[in-house]
């Protein structure tokens, strides 16, 4: 039986007094929302995904967009979303897919934590006049140093340090694969990472030749599909990351639809053109922590122990114990991806319901590693829902060494978070492989936007540190004393190991 039409999600209207029939909206909308008929622009609102491309290009501000012009009868349990999901699945019998991050209105813990500043008893430090150090080293550090002191009293360092990544800001760009995003997007991010003195992840999509000039700022990923992996790829990166899981879909693999596997993507991934690229849920050579250790050491052996190896896991309930296992595996950093992390495509039931927030995950991991005396064995990189410089500062105060940003970097390139990344129709040329759409993203401009964002956040972090009387990021890391919980319950304060405001 037909369920019938559901209320429109978006209503697009064009003000005829303003419109000059230039047709830019028609050219720009890849979803087919607009067409010209009898010298008038007709709108088919059901195709609209609210990507705002038309609005961004309309020279006359003639376009209006209303969300849910006709809504369902309100109901606190059977919300519009629950009903629509049921209609959808009743018709298709399928798993629901979605792009971008978690869409459920969970409380955001970042917004319930406030930072500290100095008054009177200690002076705040002005970063414009005093040095402010954000330099961070990602990698394994010794627990203690050994020295040789000769008869003359000269000191020689006996301990040998293993390679670390040096970053000038605690902000790195997370792994988004070429395939999920376009080559122009990849080039833009790679240039921004290089210009900012930081690093960027390749994702599980291999390394396109066009990125080779930026390879010393790239972290190459080895995921369960092993797409694009060979010794040349491993040697080109500054570090290697083994991806076990992703915050948007913990416990499951990945799926790049065949539509996005164009010739270039097929070459970079080393798979046939047009074929779906399916990454299995587990690595089929990692069924235990010992297996992971073997892969870490194999990758290090293959690259002559010159590259740090990271392991990325989704933030799940037992994240602290898992991270403690990783810390003992020769890995140099553990990347923890919180449940608000983005994705090109994920089953919505996973995206919205599986995993834990990054704030609690970092708090638990840092505490566990310290308790076990292995905190110096690995760096902690936090990702998944880092939205601004305050989030970065707070997560470092909870114990992270650095962050990965993903969605924020895409937004800096124009993404409007419409959440339809999996359709290969991204009108901003970011999450698409369609040449005409990819051409819309100009790496000369987009790279500057991303660089600006990282620069602006870095300045803000410096100001926040200076206000807190801290001139080096080491003294912010794990400094939970400088955080207070605002309207968090006692159990959450205990997990975060912070005091409430006023205490």
């Amino acid at each position: 039986m037909s369920i019938g039409a559901r209320p429109m999600r978006f209503l697009v209207t064009i003000d005829p007094d303003q419109c000059m029939l230039c047709g830019r909206c028609i050219e720009n909308c890849p979803y087919g929302t607009f067409r010209m008929e009898n010298n008038k622009i007709k709108v088919y609102s059901r195709n609209c995904v609210a990507c705002h491309r038309c609005i961004s290009q309309c020279p006359r501000d003639a376009i209006s967009l209303i969300e849910r012009p006709v809504d369902y009868r309100s109901h606190p349990v059977w919300t519009a979303k629950t009903r629509e999901d049921i209609y959808n699945q009743a018709e298709t019998g399928r798993i629901l897919l979605g792009g971008m991050g978690n869409t459920i209105d969970y409380p955001i813990i970042f917004d319930r934590m406030v930072l500290d500043a100095c008054q009177v008893t200690n002076p705040s430090i002005d970063p414009l006049r005093e040095p402010m150090e954000l330099r961070t080293y990602i990698g394994k550090k010794p627990k203690k140093l050994d020295f040789l002191v000769n008869e003359a009293g000269d000191v020689d360092l006996k301990t040998e340090l293993v390679p670390n990544l040096q970053i000038e800001t605690p902000i790195m760009i997370g792994h988004m694969s070429y395939g999920a995003i376009s080559l122009n997007a990849h080039i833009s991010l790679a240039r921004a990472a290089t210009a900012s003195g930081t690093f960027m992840g390749t994702g599980e999509g291999g390394l396109h030749e066009a990125i080779y000039p930026y390879q010393k700022n790239m972290i190459v990923q080895v995921a369960s599909g092993r797409f694009g992996v060979n010794i040349d790829y491993l040697n080109r990166g500054a570090a290697i990351e083994i991806k076990i899981g992703q915050g948007a879909k913990p416990g499951i693999g990945g799926h790049l639809p065949g539509e996005k596997v164009c010739q270039d993507v097929s070459c970079t991934r080393m798979i046939p053109e047009g074929s779906d690229a399916i990454s299995p849920a587990p690595h089929h050579d990692i069924y235990s922590i010992e297996d992971l250790k073997q892969l870490v050491r194999s990758l290090k052996e293959a690259t002559e122990w010159k590259k740090p190896v990271f392991v990325k896991i989704a933030a799940v309930h037992n994240v602290a114990a898992i991270a403690a296992g990783i810390a003992r595996s020769s890995a140099d950093a553990v990347v923890i991806d919180g449940f608000k992390g983005g994705t090109g495509a994920a089953p919505t039931v996973f995206r919205d319901n599986v995993g834990i927030p990054i704030e609690t995950a970092v708090a638990a991991v840092d505490a566990k590693l310290r308790y076990q005396g292995v905190r110096n064995e690995v760096s902690i990189i936090a990702s998944g829902g880092i939205r601004n410089s305050a989030d970065v500062t707070k997560i470092i105060a909870l114990g992270a060494d650095a962050v990965y940003i993903g969605t924020a970097a895409l937004i800096a390139m124009g993404c409007r978070v419409c959440g339809t990344c999996y359709r290969n129709l991204c009108p901003y040329g970011i999450a698409t492989q369609r040449p005409d759409l990819v051409a819309r993203l100009n790496p000369d401009e987009a790279s500057v936007n991303v660089e600006n964002l990282i620069h602006a956040w870095t300045l803000e972090i410096s100001e926040l540190m200076g206000a807190a009387g801290i001139n080096s990021i080491e003294s912010l890391r794990g400094n939970r004393d400088r955080l207070r919980g605002y309207m968090l319950d006692q159990t959450m304060l205990d997990v975060l190991d912070i005091k409430p405001v006023g205490a």
Partner: protein
């Protein structure tokens, strides 16, 4: 605020406490009359190989019994007595200071390479975190901390500090913010042979606390200064860092400077920052740390608190104020202002 002063005689010639009492009082402008204290090294020559534990008791009934039971579990009390005190009109005697000369039974910590120190550290941490009404405020050998709430002269006279003789002295005139009036909050802070006087506020306290607690130390004094003593103990006693490199870890050079160093020094300083980043201290501070054979003074990396050093004959003086040094040694021959983060170290001749 707060005023600090320290002195070491490199020939270990003894000085009584009368001079440092007057010098500390010169800095009354830096204090508030709510906390003063002194530590002297060399005060218990007759018990030099025993740990001198100074304990504040709220009463000498229950907490004292518990402390003594704990001590006897871990070793032997060779001698004990109430520390003599002399009533001062304005001062309230809030606690009863007691001292024990204690010999740990090292067989009880046979797995450790420094069993005696580890036993005493354990005892200090246990008493201070779990015995109500007792607080260990001095636990080294042949040294003693004397502190209370009051102005420098009052506290000195309360203990008759001129009756004690030491070759190292540190003293502190407190303007409290974290804990008012509490005797335990006065400086010097001490653990084993480490004593610390501190002017300022450590903004990295949360980081330092988490770091040091992961090595088994417990911060129990409700104030930031104690982490300095614990970190020095960790870096120098447990990790065997030379003293000047331990200070380097606590107040390291900026990366800009490190990048400009020659290769050997660059590698050394980089390794220290990477390994001991969590021990690094931030915020405004001037600190003097003493141990059995040396004192070291240093300020934060941008010198937000004053620190002056002076030398005269065999003595090194380090203080917040030049006037205090001149009070102790009017004929002082050489005064310097150390650079930010740069350690000033005085050692005894061995």
């Amino acid at each position: 605020m707060c005023g600090i002063i320290g002195v070491i005689d490199r020939n270990q010639e003894l000085m009584d406490g009368s001079n440092i009492r007057n010098a500390l009082a010169v800095m009354d402008e830096r204090g508030s009359g709510e906390g003063s204290g002194y530590v002297a090294y060399g005060v218990y020559p007759d018990y030099a190989d025993l740990y001198a534990l100074h304990i504040f008791y709220d009463t000498i009934i229950e907490p004292k019994e518990q402390v003594e039971e704990l001590l006897e579990n871990w070793g032997m009390i060779e001698e004990d007595e109430e520390i003599p005190t002399y009533e001062q009109s304005r001062m309230e005697k809030a606690h009863i200071p007691w001292r024990y000369f204690f010999r740990p039974n090292r067989k009880l910590m046979s797995q450790s390479s420094t069993p005696d120190d580890d036993i005493v550290t354990h005892i200090v941490m246990t008493i201070n975190t779990s015995i109500q009404g007792a607080l260990v405020f001095s636990s080294g050998k042949n040294l003693g901390v004397f502190k209370a709430s009051g102005w420098p002269k009052e506290v000195a006279d309360f203990y008759r500090i001129e009756d004690y003789e030491g070759y190292i002295w540190l003293a502190h005139n407190r303007y409290p913010t974290n804990t008012s009036g509490w005797w335990g909050g006065a400086h010097p802070f001490n653990l084993l042979n480490w004593s610390v006087v501190h002017n300022g506020e450590i903004t990295s306290y949360g980081t330092n606390k988490r770091y040091i607690e992961s090595f088994g130390y417990r911060c129990s004094m409700f104030t930031d200064t104690e982490v300095v003593a614990y970190q020095m103990d960790l870096l120098v006693r447990q990790h065997n860092l030379p003293l000047h490199l331990a200070v380097r870890a606590l107040a390291p050079p900026f990366w800009d400077e490190i990048d400009r160093m020659d290769e050997k020094n660059r590698d050394l300083n980089r390794a220290i920052r990477l390994t001991y980043g969590s021990a690094m201290m931030n915020g405004p501070f001037a600190i003097v740390v003493a141990t059995q054979d040396a004192i070291v003074g240093f300020s934060d990396r941008i010198k937000l608190r004053p620190l002056v050093a002076g030398t005269h004959e065999d003595r090194l003086y380090i203080s917040s104020e030049e006037a205090a040094i001149r009070t102790m040694e009017p004929a002082i021959s050489h005064i310097t202002m150390p650079k930010a983060g740069e350690p000033v170290i005085g050692r005894v001749i061995t």
